[in-house]
Symmetry: D2
Subunit: 428 residues, 4 copies
């Protein structure tokens, strides 16, 4: 099709400077399936980015695809505001059966505007309304979105700078490991909570990711998270786990906090919750904090019916038994091996992350960027993360076949080899 | 299917109190086509709400449906972050050809998180960054979304109350007509802009809807809008037209400000821009204000590829000629007649709105609510709007067949007749 | 004394650029008595500025002076934090007897840091704590101080710009007369208060000056003030009258709102409350709103004991009978005559203010400034006011002898004559 | 005099609940001299509070008293706004000669409203304007005043709660020692400053007290202060030393940071700067940051002429040679001995502070309060400090005769003995 080759000019002519990923992956994609994307020139790429963890089950999963086409063909409701629809009902039932009941979670489902940021905004509002407090504690390197409320909780200075106004009502504290291995940063939180003159106003909530995806794949320890959870409980603050990137299986089980013995008051989900890459946001909130009145946090797209269709299939297919968990564990191990090889090429490099949310800190954003660029040239989509983009990050679909995963890892290893050799040569 | 009847308990058991429309329209919908929705019991309703103007072309338009199924069947990219995709390129080309070029608009397209609120947040950030100012002028009864930045610009007290924290950096001024017909409220804006001691800080932007959808279908005059546009230009503020509800044909032409002789610096679109009811947000920004850096305003779902597919078809089908405009004009006239009949039943009632964004102010939210409830009992989905929900609002699909429109209007007239008779009897 | 002539270099060398009045009145003052100030060169000036209404009883009133010297000589407490002191007790008793009881005011006296801004900050905090609301309504051209809380309520853009951060939690509304004589701006306030979607959050307080001193001597009508007072009461907002500049007799009686039939919930006083020009701040608050806990609004200098000594004498001497009121009325009339003469020289000029808080708007800050500069050359200290410094403002001591007042007025008239003649000549 | 005994009812009847010190020291004071205050009943108290360090040179110093009476008798200007006065010139000359020049400080003097809070507000505004940044870093347990800007920097929760609105644009970090002796908290500041995703916006200033007076007499080490100063310099933030309580000799030399090798960009002074307990605020600012325009930070009482008279005498008398420094060192040693005795009575008690700004942490506010109450019964005015008022704090006049100091210390020791004996008995 002639249009295929002619798209580039239109992007340059009419798309805003705000566009980003397309800059690093400078081609026009047309189709995608499983763990691979194909561009208009017919070239196929292994996808180690997976929509930033929005495609945990890969592209165009055949079962979700079939269900969605059937829904559309039958004139199933596409847009129903937040009216009751059959598709929504079926999703909630499935989510209750396979996700909530097995964990004895009594949370309500609040459908919000279909973005992660909207889920975070809703969570912050719930916490403030429920407690009557305004302050929310967030952590260094946390990333929660770029709308004004969520952005206040986000640590990234580049994004904060885009606000053009003060970002307030958030207290920033050091995340687990931020002050080195000898300091338990939850001690600082405890001291400030217990000290009436610490200058930290009583918090409505403590908001955290168990693994900081954008912040550099920093994985907090279960001990630290448990300490934080206890402090939240003791001091009347809600515990909000932002599981937008780390949830939906990314770290090995459905929630990233499974098996830690905590029950967050609020959980935010988005990215992979629809299963198919369709926009969807979801807030889980314990009944006693389900305080938003009807439409108090409203929005036109709360309840993307197409997303409900695929989300239901995703839960049924992947979370009604233990198979995916076992797959993730095995694949995580493959990834770890691959990253370890890369780490061996760069003095001071070290592994980061947990489950299939893994990366290697190569010490500089420049080096990490070059590795990713080389990998893309060789047919692999992979991105960086971290304060200085110094982490090469792998977010492959959880369902990627082992062979394809290994193939991708080899591309990445070769890219790293190639880049580090050049660097070494240049240095000599 | 047994599930169909069993959905009600799951909503009560697991869906958050924040759910809203489902309360007034207390059934479970399963399919929808054109201007009608059908519930699981097989009952069909005429839809005068149209997803709050998100379904301007009706439910499941056959051409968009075909294109979307074809895209999905062929493993077209579903989720591509903001990478270049064929579907996105084709949409931009079509949008440029049929919307921007005919109006000599040089705006860039910035794809944002797929909600209207996200588009407004982006617009506010752009204005603040581009001008280096923080204050944004918004108007009484304006509604721009409920995330923290957008909520600051929103007038509705119920929604503002949900923030749980102060909403700042916005100056509120009276909208056109707010101080009665004798006062041109743009004079107050002018006075405050020109007075260095007015207490109004220099504005980054003036943000307005040409017709306030949620605020009660208040339609500003072209003169007033032109005055505001001139003041914005003169005082270095960007003019942001929030066309999320009033745009995409709702008032008679694609943009609600067409033919007013103004060129907004920024236009926000969402709701009907995808054509099919799929989540999509879009900001149009003049090149000199396209100042957000790569990913500075980021988000996972900037670029819902399915929405691009249907949005392209929508533009091609409805905006490549003048037919829809003529249809809207004719249908608007039918709606006006119907509403005039209702206004005749209620002392003091009067018509509001413009194009197919019309309503009747019946003086009290209680009365308006009863009319809508009666109408729903008779098979019509219709909602209220306004500060006290005192306006019965019609947002029928622009494509509704005239006969079905008249049928719906008759249901509404009967409902009004029924409610007002009872009221009269009760009063006697 | 040689130092006298050598002071100029030290000011230039070491005093901050923030210094201001000394720029217009470019000499070094050493002594002052009654309505006159004398510089180190021995030149005497008539004082029509009176410390911006801080010296309503003139400089170094002999009775206050005697009492103060006696207090100091006898080792009376100078600084007692906010402990009970004899001097404080005596002041409160006098203030109760001559000011509060005759007006049946049950207000408590809250001693605050010795500045007007501190009194305003305290008043805003009281209103917020007492109502549990945050929004405070202030008016165009209002001036309430430059510390961050008070500055948010101040309209002046130059001063606001000095904050370097957003000034929030205040809604700005047009003052009486701001939209011309045909519009009662209290109608806009009413509409916004009654409209739940106006975007104005429920106010903790309405804060206003009855005559805006810095804002250009805008005098609100008693009708407008009464309307505002009623709206405050009806909507649960506290009425705060900032009587810092207009109070202590400046407009003709002790409070500027006497005889208007209103009882403010809070009154702020400073400037002339000590009588002698000594720093003192005072908040009057009705018992039901006396909600600041012990030291909750604290400060080292709450209770300037020297100020208590002179303030007591001031009240006893000037407010135990009606003589001063009669004097003010007569002198106000003399001032009005003088200003009318000046207004006659400038096309479009008009009189402003009330009581002995009067001025003439000559249409431009440049012209007003030149008149004041000429006057100073001729031995008269007089200043401008207003958004563009376009008002020549007279704030002579209330106690100025009539002859001296007339002498000063003649200097001012001559200065205006001289400046306007030159302007006319230049224009020809 | 009959009034003397009759004052108590007027305080109860008319003084606001906000009154505080008078509650603990429940008598009416009339005269004061040196380190002693006398009440209306003729009882004399040793003053270990000294106006919270506002009376570093004692009450009614004879030389200042003589100069002030002479000034008043001669009709010296009392109130001159910020015009040049002879008294101001003489003060600046003296301050330059004895304070600034010996330290090679090129700072300008900015006279602000006569409170410490006003000085802090001015300092924060200067830093924000000079750097174009809004964020200000303050520390746990810092106390900087209760007007809105200063209160945002203050740690005390009771005072913060009085704001009734959000306190923003300040980042709170742990003060020296806050995380125990093993953690250098400046490392956290460094990490956050160097990490672009720490969530801490680039700071306009770092604001600190070298000894936290209200916060519990926490004395930062010179090393820590030097680290902070270097970080400020490196990251473009101004260093503001709030020397309001610790300055003017309290810690042993004029400035509390003398001999630390740092030059703060801004120093705030108040309390003892007038020498006599008269209200005065002063900001020292380096010329390159003297960015407030004329009157941009204005106020009626910027320049309390009486305070200039006594401040000049104070500088000349006490800071033109080394005698007072030697006295302070000797007296500090006496105080330390006394406090050590008290610490020996309470398990876990330990000494705090530096110079003549000393206290003993007795572990509980209740105990500390009882000790102070007993001491007052025995004729000693002494107060507590700290997050939980757990520190018995001694702020005696620097000029207190050694014998009187020892007498006072003995009263305090006896009070502690008495209270701890009772406690021990009660516990048995």
């Amino acid at each position: 099709m002639s249009t295929k080759t002619s798209h580039m000019p239109i992007f340059k002519r009419r798309e805003s400077n705000a566009r980003s990923y397309c800059r690093g992956f400078d081609t026009v994609f047309s189709t995608a399936s499983g763990a691979e994307m194909t561009d208009t020139a017919g070239r196929t790429y292994i996808d180690f980015l997976a929509g930033c963890s929005s495609l945990n089950y890969g592209h165009n999963d055949p079962d979700m695809k079939t269900a969605l086409i059937e829904h559309i063909s039958g004139d199933g409701v596409t847009h129903g505001l937040d009216m009751h629809t059959e598709a929504k009902g079926a999703f909630i039932e499935t989510f209750e059966e396979h996700v909530l009941r097995p964990r004895a979670m009594d949370h309500k489902l609040m459908f919000v505007g279909p973005t992660g940021a909207n889920a975070v905004e809703a969570a912050m509002k719930i916490a403030r309304k429920s407690t009557g407090r305004t302050n929310i504690i967030a952590f260094t390197n946390g990333f929660h979105g770029v709308t004004q409320g969520a952005l206040a909780a986000t640590g990234n200075g580049y994004h904060r700078g885009g606000a053009g106004t003060a970002l307030n009502d958030v207290t920033r504290l050091p995340y687990d490991g931020y002050m080195g291995t000898d300091v338990d940063t939850s001690d600082l939180l405890r001291a400030m909570l217990e000290d009436p003159s610490s200058g930290m106003d009583a918090p409505a909530a403590i908001l955290l990711e168990t693994v900081q995806g954008e912040g550099g794949l920093n994985a907090a320890s279960a001990d630290w998270i448990t300490s934080i959870a206890k402090l939240a409980r003791k001091h009347g603050a809600l515990l909000i786990i932002d599981d937008i990137q780390a949830g939906c299986g990314r770290t090995g089980s459905f929630f990233s906090f499974d098996d830690m013995g905590i029950t967050p008051d609020i959980v935010t989900l988005a990215k992979s919750v629809s299963g198919f890459g369709l926009p969807m946001g979801l807030v889980l909130v314990r009944p006693e904090h389900d305080v938003m009145g009807p439409a108090e946090h409203n929005g036109t797209f709360r309840g993307n019916t197409h997303a409900f269709v695929t989300a239901r299939v995703a839960i049924e297919k992947f979370w009604s038994d233990e198979r995916l968990k076992a797959d993730i564990e095995r694949r995580a191990s493959l990834i770890e091996d691959g990253l370890r090889t890369i780490a061996g090429m760069v003095p001071g490099a070290y592994l980061k992350g947990r489950g299939m949310m893994r990366g290697v800190d190569v010490g500089s954003g420049e080096l990490a960027g070059e590795i990713c660029a080389h990998a893309f040239d060789k047919g692999l989509i992979v991105e960086t993360s971290g304060s200085d983009d110094e982490v090469v990050k792998i977010l492959a679909p959880l369902t990627i076949p082992d062979a394809l995963l290994e193939k991708g890892l080899n591309v990445l290893i070769d890219a790293a080899q190639s880049v580090t050799s050049q660097t070494t040569i240049a240095a000599e």
